[in-house]
Symmetry: C2
Subunit: 290 residues, 2 copies
């Protein structure tokens, strides 16, 4: 299987799980919006959970709860981030965003409920037979996604738009470590937590991967094809925002991203051939067109 | 102590706990907004947690985590509900709402992070030495606040505004059981869960209390003084919405609320004099001016 096929298979499993869970909910636009928002993404975060879990001998039927949890959090963040009061995006994953297809209120509420759903999944006995493991996943997800992680990164990003000076490289790196890095780190280390193994190698992998992912996003914003990407591009330049491309130049950014991918791959050396899918994920992250 | 004094003391403890927790967060408008949103409310939900915990011999230092969690969820729901895309309210607790004082983006993000914070609190060992108890509180809070509870109720409320016909009594009762009832029920039963006791009597108490609370809110919307209430009133009539007052008449609504308070008090008979504060809370709920 090529890596895109592996990713598609994993994300298909997570999306099917979410669809099955949400089929038991009352018939309301807010629920339809939750289903819609959890459909059609790349599913990289869920894939990282499933793959990290497989590396540690965790049953896929257990790991799927953590995979679905992180995809629910990611989907909530996109639904809220796309709102007119935030990034004001009309297109996501090649489809109208939730507030365009329904309205702002439905987008706010469906995002709220997707966040709740994530913690619901992690609290279930099916997620892990060990209560302490479930609680560790919940604590870590709260840290990664809340006001010390993802939400802080989004707030820093908004603040940067009206700052007198564009951010410098250390600030941009910190912002991205919060905005996208923290959730990617949670995803990659969840499998080790589920398997009650040392998460340090996967954490090192994910730290490099998360930064490479964001640099690739900035490159995509400049070089990408909006039709392929399924979302609006050239946003950063329009907004006059500092990015890894504006700070390092296009070649410098590409070279930095390649270095990070090598770093990510090297962090997995202890796992040998079993981690090949995670290495392929790192290479994919900087080669992707969306 | 009169009941309002008891309530003020309990809510002061919960607000001080939240302020202390949030003082450790980065200095950003989104964090200031979180502090602001968790200040100045009645604190009824947190009080119910603390009081239910005291009834079951749970240490206040443990119960405060669950009390702060539910007040964080309640605050997040108000911040989002007040947004222009939802109820569009400028005033809350006698102060400008978060999106008025900052902006919509800060309101969305601070609400998101307040929800996350609630699950963070419940996952901490300080909340309960029993991992299974913490997980039960987390599961129940997800159920009470998500798309099968509070968020569903808010969605049903929005749907009612554009419905061809005003809702009838069973539908309004169901809507309110979700919108406000579920979180009140969680609050009142959390102490029994923390004390590993049967939550059934407190659940019966909270079910009656939650409905009385909402009927009182509808009466307040008609009869209240906006200056005392600290929020905009007469909203339901303007919007042509069915309420307990429009369905039962003012006298009918008052009589129903009084009956529910008696029901709530009766549910506590097994606790004897120890539950006097909870009985006073039920009487207060229909007598309050805000």
């Amino acid at each position: 299987m090529t890596f895109p096929q592996t990713l598609t298979e994993a994300s298909g499993q997570v999306q099917a799980f979410l669809a099955r869970e949400l089929s038991g909910y009352p018939d309301q636009p807010v629920i339809e919006a939750m289903r819609y928002a959890t459909t059609g993404g790349k599913g990289l975060r869920g894939f990282l959970v499933l793959e990290g879990a497989a590396l540690h001998g965790v049953a896929p039927g257990a790991a799927i709860y953590a995979a679905a949890a992180v995809e629910a959090v990611h989907a909530y963040s996109l639904v809220h981030d796309d709102l007119p009061a935030m990034d004001n995006d009309d297109l996501r994953r090649g489809q109208p965003t939730v507030h365009v297809k329904w309205d702002d209120a439905t987008a706010i509420l469906s995002g709220d409920a997707l966040q709740t759903l994530a913690f619901d999944f992690l609290a279930r006995p099916e997620c892990s037979p060990e209560p302490e493991v479930r609680l560790a996943l919940i604590s870590d997800l709260a840290l990664a996604s809340g006001a010390k992680g993802m939400v802080l990164g989004q707030a820093q990003d908004i603040a940067a738009e009206t700052a007198a000076q564009p951010l410098d490289l250390p600030r941009i790196t910190e912002l991205q470590a919060n905005k996208t890095g923290a959730l990617i780190r949670w995803s990659a280390t969840a499998g080790a937590l589920l398997g009650q193994a040392d998460p340090a190698p996967l954490r090192a992998y994910a730290t490099a991967l998360g930064l490479a992912f964001q640099i690739a996003d900035d490159i995509l914003d400049v070089e990408g094809d909006a039709a392929l990407a399924g979302k609006r591009l050239r946003k950063d330049e329009e907004a006059g925002k500092a990015t890894f491309v504006s700070l390092l130049g296009l070649d410098g950014a590409k070279s930095r991203a390649r270095g990070l991918v090598e770093e990510a791959e090297a962090a997995l050396s202890g796992y040998g051939a079993a981690a090949e899918n995670l290495r392929a994920a790192a290479r994919f992250v900087i080669a992707r067109k969306k």
